[in-house]
């Protein structure tokens, strides 16, 4: 297992190096310059020139790349060109917001998706199956931001059940340690702050979680339908076991294999969705920040963030493979 992990981590290196080169070239191929973006309407040709000289944007791309790599090796990811914030610290300021949101979305998708998928998959073609599958399809075809806006309109504005935006209520005093607001509330025992953070996560979590929910429902359904037809399930039934044992030990433990992979594959999807959800709900996470970084040519932020994301993506995939081994003994040995 350890060797497997190490090997996989080693395989990540060429991908990340390749990505860093590709990114570097690609980002610099974007028309428009960071200097213009930094200065906005106040830009004069002289001011742009001075910024380009100061930040080295005028140097040959290759030289810029080596400077960049040189700084990377010293652990320096640079500063945002927009506000001068060190990229790493901004990332750790914002990443918790996105993680929290993605976690809420996944939680929603998993907690609801697996039972729904199980019920649908137990009797494929039954009315319950039809209801569940068509509802989940509706979730897939509704644009994320449209769903987010609708949810906000109905549940935050008309019904006033949930807050309209942001991560926390400014009126509630909260101490922030990790920037995971729910966690912070729990650590500091500021229960009202923790609850407030949870309440703020519900609508965005649902909006972002709907597509993963639909996907998890469909995968679980297919997997359960498959497993239900397996001989070992028949064996389990022939043993006269408790239905809960059959469901958990014999059906779900096998059906979970493809589901786990699917959940792992949601990372990219969640991040794309986070760009939109964070915009609608005014959450200061990396999704929206990255979008702004692209539109404003924030080279250091783009380079570092996309690398971080690729790294996280790879690590999640690795975790998926490892968890595969935990669930499936056949993988564990080979």
């Amino acid at each position: 297992m350890l060797r497997f992990v190490v090997r996989r981590l080693a395989l990540m290196v060429p991908v990340l190096v390749g990505l860093s080169i590709l990114l570097f070239v690609w980002i610099r191929a974007l028309p428009g310059e960071p200097a213009r973006s930094m200065l906005g309407q106040r830009a004069t040709p002289e001011a742009i020139e001075r910024i380009n000289n100061l930040y080295g944007f005028n140097d040959p791309v290759l030289q810029q790349y080596f400077t960049y790599v040189g700084r990377l090796i010293r652990g320096d990811f640079g500063e945002s060109t927009r506000n001068g914030d060190p990229v790493v610290s901004t990332f750790f300021d914002q990443f918790p917001a996105t993680i929290e949101l993605s976690f809420a979305a996944l939680l929603f998708a998993i907690v609801l998706g697996i039972p729904l998928g199980y019920w649908a998959g137990r009797r494929v073609g039954g009315w319950l199956d039809n209801v569940i599958v068509s509802t989940s399809l509706l979730g897939v075809v509704t644009p994320v931001f449209f769903l987010a806006i609708l949810l906000k309109l109905v549940f935050a504005e008309y019904l006033d059940w949930f807050p309209t935006s942001r991560r926390s209520d400014a009126r509630i005093e909260a101490t922030h340690i990790t920037n995971f607001y729910v966690l912070d509330g729990l650590i500091t025992r500021e229960w009202d702050a923790a609850w407030d953070a949870i309440v703020h996560l519900i609508l965005p979590g649902i909006a972002l979680g709907t597509i993963p929910l639909a996907i998890i429902v469909r995968i679980t359904r297919a997997a359960v339908a498959d497993v239900m037809g397996e001989d070992y399930v028949r064996t389990a039934y022939s043993k006269g076991l408790d239905p809960a044992i059959i469901r958990n030990r014999h059906v779900m433990r096998n059906a979970l294999l493809p589901v786990v992979t699917t959940i792992g594959l949601q990372t990219g999807l969640l991040l794309s969705g986070a760009v939109l959800t964070e915009s609608v709900f005014e959450i200061g996470g990396i999704g929206r920040y990255l979008f702004e970084a692209i539109s404003q040519r924030d080279y250091p932020v783009l380079q570092a963030y996309i690398l971080f994301i690729a790294l996280i993506f790879s690590i999640v995939n690795l975790l998926v493979d490892v968890s595969y081994g935990v669930i499936d003994p056949r993988v564990r040995v080979s």
Binding site: G18, L138, V141, F146, D226, L276
Partner: protein
């Protein structure tokens, strides 16, 4: 001890190459499709969508992007449904109903072109990877890995940033997100087909690799590809809207494009919800059509529902 009598069903895979495998697969799929209400609903939605897109100019009471009633639109109010304007006026002063119909055309064109583009490029990568041996496979798949590790929407955003705001940029941006999907799919099916018994049989018959790939492997990869393409059409329709939401897309704000109409209606959601609801519904329904059809196709082509 006695031997078992040779009781073997004709469907038994051990019987080896089934010459009619391909055609019977499609015939069976067609039979299953015709009987599947989901497929019929999906097909009807798609058909309606395509017909509206093709005959938009005949169906719509007014010209596209006419902005005929622009003078009646203020920053805070938009005329609602009334005589002559079934659904009211859009925020740029055109007939909302007509704009919705013309919007189908935009969505269809963007969806089809971007999916075809993604398919062609993705297929080329996938065939390179799946058909040309381990080294090529390794390199191509690493590239695909890299593409996959960038969130697709951000990739699309950066492509529009390079190519500027126009229809073609949007198409290429959406296609780019589809390339890795198709590449993986084709590579996967090609590799699994390549290991299958009938290819083994064909190889043992001394057929050339290219003949096998072109004659056997590709046709058999077709099913999953068509399924994926149908599903991607629905993603494309939604993705156009997402790009519009981020302010990227057609240059003309008044143009009949659902995503754009939906996004433009956002700030008037409270006062004129119809401006957002109709295009939102149009996006969802057309995407639903493609999704239903794609899902039904998937089930028809692979009745066991395995992936």
């Amino acid at each position: 001890m006695t031997m078992a009598p040779p009781l073997m069903s004709p469907s038994d895979p051990m019987l080896g190459v089934d010459p009619e495998h391909g055609t019977s697969l499609w015939r069976g799929a067609w039979r299953r499709l015709r009987r599947n209400p989901v497929a019929i609903l999906g097909a009807l939605l798609v058909l309606a969508f395509v017909l509206i897109a093709v005959f938009a100019s005949a169906l719509a009471p007014y010209a596209a992007n006419s902005r005929e009633w622009a003078s009646e639109v203020t920053l805070t109010s938009v005329p609602g449904p009334r005589e002559g304007n079934l659904l009211g006026i859009d925020r740029y002063g055109s007939d909302l109903y007509s704009q919705l119909l013309y919007g189908a055309r935009q969505s269809l064109i963007i969806g089809v072109v971007s999916t075809l583009l993604g398919l062609v490029v993705g297929a080329m990568l996938g065939i390179l990877a799946g058909g040309l041996g381990a080294k090529v496979d390794m390199v191509v798949m690493r590239i695909v890995d890299i593409l996959l590790s960038i969130p697709s929407l951000l990739l699309a955003v950066s492509i529009v940033a390079v190519l500027g705001q126009n229809r073609y940029a949007v198409m290429i941006a959406i296609a780019s997100a589809q390339v890795p999907v198709f590449a993986r799919l084709l590579r996967g099916t090609m590799l699994s087909q390549a290991r299958s018994d009938y290819v083994l049989a064909a190889t043992s018959l001394g057929l050339r690799r290219r003949t096998i790939v072109m004659g056997h492997v590709l046709p058999n990869s077709l099913g999953p590809t068509i399924v994926q393409a149908t599903l991607n059409l629905s993603t494309a329709v939604i993705e156009v809207a997402a790009l519009s939401f981020l302010g990227l897309g057609e240059s003309d704000p008044a143009v009949a494009e659902w995503g754009r109409m939906l996004v433009a209606a956002q700030d008037r959601f409270a006062s004129s919800p119809q401006l957002a609801l109709w295009p939102g519904l149009a996006i969802a329904v057309s995407a639903l059509g493609f999704t239903l059809l794609g899902e039904a196709l998937r089930e028809a082509l692979d009745p066991k529902g395995r992936r």
